[in-house]
């Protein structure tokens, strides 16, 4: 209750300051958006369906890209954890590739796949998969030794040890990685969408700039941030709570 009251006060405060600055007319209107202008732009986007289309197209892409990066990321992470050779070799490569901004994958994607849906999804996957890989590896590396010893001691071997001890024990790390992977996937997607006519939210953002429409730019930015936050809460909030409460095994909810 207290929290929501605080949030309400903050939101009203921001609006008042914003409106006040706009009324002072310190900057020309194409540089400084007004609250009314942004609201109008939002309703216009809703009315002509461009916002709906942008959201639908972007969400569909990120769903595909994220799913691919989760599956491949976890598999790769497991592979690296248990192969000394891959750890010595690919381990460093992955670290260095992770420092690559995902937009750097765009030229490669365009050369390989052309101006296509595949190119955008490729950029999304490359932007988020390695975070999942790293978290998977960290998760398995950080399973307390006592737990795997206890598991072996109680008769778990090979696959049993994996499914019943190592996987659940590494779940807290894994969920962290999946969360981070989601944030990276969403960012990478928007970056990819900004480069050519793609119908997604990234494209709407660029269109706003091309039309010198600062209101649309702000609307789309708020939408992108808001959707990123909302999906994060829907996918992970509950999972994190249940992990915190009991270290649950509800990994299915993350996919």
């Amino acid at each position: 209750m207290k929290k929501s009251v605080n949030q309400l006060i903050f939101a009203v405060g921001v609006l008042v300051v914003w409106e006040g600055l706009a009324l002072l007319k310190l900057w020309p209107p194409y540089v400084f958006p007004t609250p009314q202008g942004v609201a109008e732009s939002f309703w216009a986007g809703i009315a002509d369906h461009s916002i709906w289309i942008g959201i639908a197209v972007s969400l569909r892409r990120v769903a595909i890209g994220y799913a691919i990066s989760v599956v491949l990321g976890i598999l790769l992470g497991m592979w690296i954890t248990w192969s000394k050779f891959l750890q010595d070799t690919l381990g460093g490569v992955i670290l260095s590739l992770q420092s690559l901004p995902s937009i750097c994958w765009v030229p490669l994607a365009l050369l390989w796949f052309g101006l296509s849906e595949t190119a955008i999804i490729f950029v999304t996957v490359m932007g988020s998969m390695l975070a999942v890989t790293q978290a998977t590896k960290a998760g398995f590396d950080n399973v307390p030794r006592i737990l795997s010893m206890a598991g072996r001691n109680l008769g778990a071997k090979g696959p049993q040890l994996f499914w019943h001890v190592l996987l659940p024990a590494s779940l807290p790390y894994l969920v962290d990685g999946l969360k981070q992977g989601w944030a990276f996937a969403w960012r990478s997607l928007i970056q990819g969408e900004m480069l050519y006519v793609t119908l997604g939210l990234g494209q709407l953002l660029v269109a706003g700039r091309d039309l010198n429409d600062i209101n649309q730019v702000v609307v789309v930015m708020v939408l992108i941030a808001g959707i990123g936050y909302a999906v994060d809460s829907i996918l992970f909030r509950k999972l994190e709570t249940s992990l915190r409460d009991k270290w649950g095994t509800a990994i299915a909810a993350a996919n």
């Binding site: 109680l154 019943h164 024990a169 009991k246």
Partner: protein, 313 residues
């Protein structure tokens, strides 16, 4: 006579094998309806007590950071009888835990041989369950699921393992907590869950690594009583490591004193005091004092070793 009956009973539960095949294991772990109880043991010809665990010339050393080897255990020769309760005391760093890990098959001796019922130990097996000092309970499972874990690994059906887990949770007085998660329990309760989890596999040998070290005195007293009762009911061989001499005398048939690094068995004490004993009994105190005298020399040696190492830095 009691010993002989216990012996027969433990053998009948345990099946007498190291590293059994999977199907044999699941058969062995199942609760046996036809297992002879103490009173109705078959009238076989009286056999001498059999040795359960035998170590001969066991050495274990570890590579250290300076590229040489630190000996942890040196020339351990030891025989433990079936159903015996053996306590091992020694200063920290004497290799007590290492010894238990070797017995559990979680670690291997550098040289020497360890046999259980005449079969060399080649890896972990559910006939020898180690109770870790840190317990190693699974935080993502409920109390009952923790107790069921070993049975589940052995492929025992859901109903059977639930019944079995409930039975052992009753034995450690935790029936009302079966759906709790581990972090919701007190230290003593966690200990009892770990004990139930180990006993549920009906191990022939129970290895305990300072299990009660982190508990308050009252809880520890209570768990001593419980452990003694459970030992009588399920009659495993117990090897119990502790740094608490009184605890060792309170519980053990025999107390082994280990020397500071490298760990050797320095002396042995047969404890013939009648059970049930209590840590405050004067007889217990008296024998403890004798053992403690010898232990103190080893503790002094370990202190000196630590100090001289610090000076070298």
């Amino acid at each position: 006579m009691t010993n002989y009956v216990l012996d027969l009973f433990s053998r009948s539960i345990a099946g007498g094998r190291v590293l059994p095949e999977r199907d044999e294991l699941s058969e062995r772990v199942k609760p046996r309806k036809d297992a002879p109880t103490g009173e109705t043991a078959p009238n076989a010809s009286p056999a001498p007590r059999r040795e359960s665990i035998a170590l001969s010339g066991v050495f274990r050393s570890y590579a250290n950071s300076r590229g040489s080897f630190t000996p942890a255990l040196q020339n351990i020769d030891l025989e433990i009888e079936q159903g015996e309760f053996v306590c091992i005391v020694g200063p920290s760093g004497c290799g007590k835990s290492t010894l238990l890990h070797l017995l559990a098959g979680l670690d291997r001796p550098t040289t020497g041989e360890i046999t259980v019922d005449g079969n060399p130990v080649q890896g972990p097996g559910t006939d020898r369950i180690l109770l870790f000092q840190e317990l190693g309970l699974f935080p993502w499972l409920t109390v009952r699921q923790n107790v069921e874990f070993g049975l589940k690994m052995a492929g025992i059906s859901r109903d059977e393992r639930r019944d079995s887990a409930r039975k052992f949770l009753r034995m450690v007085h935790l029936s009302h907590f079966e759906d709790h998660y581990i972090h919701q329990l007190s230290g003593g309760m966690k200990q009892r869950v770990a004990l139930a989890r180990s006993l549920a596999l009906r191990p022939k040998i129970l290895l305990m690594d300072e299990p009660f070290a982190a508990l308050d005195a009252q809880t520890r007293d209570m768990l001593h009583d419980e452990l003694e009762r459970l030992w009588k009911e399920t009659s495993p061989t117990i090897v119990f490591v502790t740094h608490n001499v009184r605890e060792a005398v309170r519980l053990g048939d025999r107390v082994l004193l280990m020397s500071f690094r490298p760990g050797r068995i320095k002396s042995q004490f047969q404890v013939t005091l009648p059970r049930p004993r209590h840590v405050e009994d004067s007889d217990v105190a008296c024998l403890s004092k004798e053992i403690l005298g010898q232990l103190r020399e080893e503790i002094d040696r370990s202190f000196n070793a630590e100090y001289s190492r610090e000076e070298k830095r």
